[in-house]
């Protein structure tokens, strides 16, 4: 990933943006979220600088009860443990069906610790050593290998649930999720999130293989999603092609590397420092912090509520805009930025020349609405 590092000057500017706080490292979730809203300069800048968005949001007066629910985590862990127990017995049968895994391929290697040492650095080195070895004797399933991806100059440790290795030396990333696949169908949003997360692992794995001088194509873009089937706890597996997600991710990662362009748009005095006292309690006035955040444009969409710690702040800021109602609404009302403006046009306000077309549509929609519901807009 050496080609994607920000310059020293950019790094200094990012450090200044972060202020005195320690940089917050990325994980698979935050990297996926990055690719989920590529148009948001605020998020791009804060993530590149490693700003602790949760604390910044809280200090600005918009704390977000963010993170996965405890119940979801417990359920997810229990399902993963069940699928992996007894040498991943349940999974082997599934993989024999999905990947056409040979009966002789049953090797199981545990990367959760290295001889009792579970430090990230040791685990990553062990992972690298094993995955780049010229041959892989008796290794088929690699449990929780620890990969590393450099994002904005800082390493992010990533832990795929499993990597399966087929006889011909191709790696397949396996993601175990606890949402149900009912009648072969799952929540599209959740599948999309799993796909982008798997793509992050594929990217990191390809980097690792490439660094060792081997062909990155050894890491398949076909990843495998394992989830409970119907209403049971029995697992089912599906193949996911993550080529598109890899493309989005690569663009985002190179955008972070070319963060200079984005940085150049803001004054050198801009910082998200929380002015902590000696005990680490933030002292920066909320209004001042909000003003600093406001200098960087956000691209709020309702989806942000599921992926970004700053969501409540941005939603408050975006109140009254058409974008706050979601991408479909914004696209339908092309060129109209505020909800009030749209309502005005619907009531028959004289439109600007470039809004004539959409104004006619709005007027017609308002008439229909009045006919059906009997109320004016």
């Amino acid at each position: 990933m050496t080609g994607r590092q920000p310059s020293a000057a950019a790094q200094a500017a990012l450090d200044r943006l972060r202020g005195r706080a320690l940089p917050k490292n990325h994980d698979a979730r935050t990297i996926s979220a990055l690719a989920a809203n590529p148009g948001c300069a605020r998020r791009a800048l804060m993530d590149a600088a490693g700003v602790d968005k949760q604390r910044v949001a809280a200090q600005a007066g918009f704390p977000a009860p963010f993170g996965q629910s405890r119940f979801a985590i417990v359920r997810g862990n229990a399902f993963e443990a069940q699928v992996k127990e007894n040498g991943a017995a349940q999974l082997l049968i599934l993989l024999r069906e999905v990947l056409g895994l040979d009966v002789s391929e049953v090797g199981y290697a545990d990367f959760n610790d290295v001889g009792g040492n579970s430090s990230a650095e040791v685990r990553h080195r062990h992972t690298r050593h094993v995955l780049t070895a010229p041959d892989q004797p008796g290794r088929t399933l690699l449990d929780h290998p620890l990969l590393r991806l450099r994002v904005g100059g800082r390493p992010a440790y990533l832990e795929p649930d499993l990597i399966a290795l087929r006889l011909d030396g191709t790696f397949h990333v396996i993601e175990i999720k606890s949402f149900a696949v009912i009648d072969g169908q799952a929540d599209p949003g959740k599948v999309a999130a799993a796909a982008i997360q798997s793509a992050v692992y594929v990217r990191a794995l390809r980097d690792l293989v490439a660094e060792a001088g081997r062909d990155p194509a050894a890491v398949s873009h076909q990843t495998i999603l394992v989830a409970p089937r119907d209403f049971s706890s029995q697992p089912t597996a599906a193949s996911l092609d993550v080529r598109r997600q890899l493309g989005v991710l690569d663009r985002q990662l190179s955008r972070i590397a070319s963060i200079e362009d984005l940085l150049a748009q803001y004054p050198g005095t801009l910082t998200f420092d929380l002015d902590p006292d000696p005990q680490g309690r933030p002292r920066r006035p909320a209004a001042e912090l909000t003003a600093a955040i406001g200098q960087v444009a956000a691209n709020y969409a309702p989806e942000c509520l599921a992926t970004c710690e700053l969501c409540f702040l941005c939603r408050d800021e975006a109140a009254g805009t058409t974008g706050a109602l979601g991408k479909p609404v914004r696209e339908d009302l092309g060129g109209i930025e505020y909800i009030a403006q749209a309502r005005g046009l619907a009531r028959g306000q004289l439109p600007a020349p470039e809004q004539a077309e959409i104004a006619a549509q709005l007027l017609r929609a308002a008439q229909l609405r009045e006919q059906v519901l009997g109320e004016a807009v």
Binding site: L92, N112, G116, S119, V122, R125
Partner: protein
């Protein structure tokens, strides 16, 4: 039936003796918290002993009723909340049936299916710690210890697997193929155990069904898991892995023999001691085992 009760009383007496020793060790070691814990365990064991004695006396006094007491293994017995046997003996019973290293969850399921009593798996984790402490204080004082299975590469305790100290080292080291080999072996043992019992409890059949679901060709077209068919399917797959696994295990066991006794049973601790210190982390497993043996 009196025989069964008398056996439980004897088991409790052994347990009480062991706990007395454990209390003494903890008090002499100055560990007040542990001593308190063990004292309360001792008290409850003594209470259980009194109750068991009362029950035995009542039964001896009314021989007419003794014949109607349900035999061991019947639903009445399995409705008991837990066995009167100490945890280590329950774990030993289940592991002896499986004859392969197993995770606490499987041990608890097997015990529930065949011996009619279950226990929380969280207690099993502390059991291994107690066993290690006991071995280090007085090595080989007990006929067996519940110990760790060792990972073949670093000879460190394999995550979550328990074994019995009297098993050969080859069985207690875990290579990359061993989880599957042990799973198939366990399936065969469970199938054989079911064939031995005239009326296997439903929990045991359910356990076999779960094993069968993860073995190719073990389930009949009707969806049933027949013990003989499960055994046969497991043996068929076992022939594919057995030789390669045995070679890896024999090599690892050979290295493990160079370790001290406590390390052979509970794993090398060199990495645990240096957790976080990655600077001189050697990547060659053979090299590390060599170092561990030299210590």
């Amino acid at each position: 039936m009196i025989g069964v009760v008398a056996e439980t009383i004897e088991a409790l007496e052994r347990r009480i003796d062991e706990l007395r020793v454990a209390v003494r060790e903890a008090v002499l070691a100055g560990d007040r918290e542990l001593a308190g814990e063990r004292r309360s365990a001792l008290k409850s064991a003594e209470r259980a002993w009194e109750d068991a004695l009362d029950a035995a006396a009542a039964e001896a006094g009314s021989p007419a009723q003794a014949g109607t007491t349900p035999p061991a293994g019947s639903p009445e017995r399995s409705a008991l909340p837990g066995s009167l046997l100490p945890l280590r003996e329950q774990v030993y019973e289940a592991l002896s049936l499986l004859q392969v290293p197993a995770a606490p969850k499987l041990i608890a399921t097997v015990h529930e299916a065949f011996f009619g009593a279950t226990f929380p798996t969280t207690r099993v984790t502390s059991l291994k710690r107690d066993e290690e402490r006991s071995f280090r204080t007085a090595p080989f004082a007990r006929p067996y210890y519940i110990c760790a299975a060792l990972s073949a590469d670093y000879l460190a305790p394999s995550r979550g697997l328990l074994a019995v100290s009297t098993w050969p080292l080859e069985l207690r080291v875990i290579g990359s193929l061993s989880p599957r080999v042990d799973f198939l072996t366990a399936a065969i043992r469970v199938a054989e155990a079911i064939e031995r019992i005239p009326e296997p409890p439903p929990a045991a059949r359910h356990l076999l069904q779960r094993f069968a679901a993860s073995i190719s060709g073990a389930i009949s077209p009707a969806g049933r898991a027949d013990p003989a068919a499960v055994s046969e399917a497991a043996r068929a797959e076992l022939t594919v892995h057995r030789d390669r696994d045995a070679m890896a295990r024999a090599a690892a066991a050979g290295r493990a023999r160079g370790l001290r006794h406590a390390e052979q049973l509970f794993g090398t601790a060199m990495f645990r001691d240096r957790a976080g210190d990655a600077a001189d982390f050697a990547v060659d497993p053979a090299d590390i085992a060599g170092k561990a043996a030299a210590e």
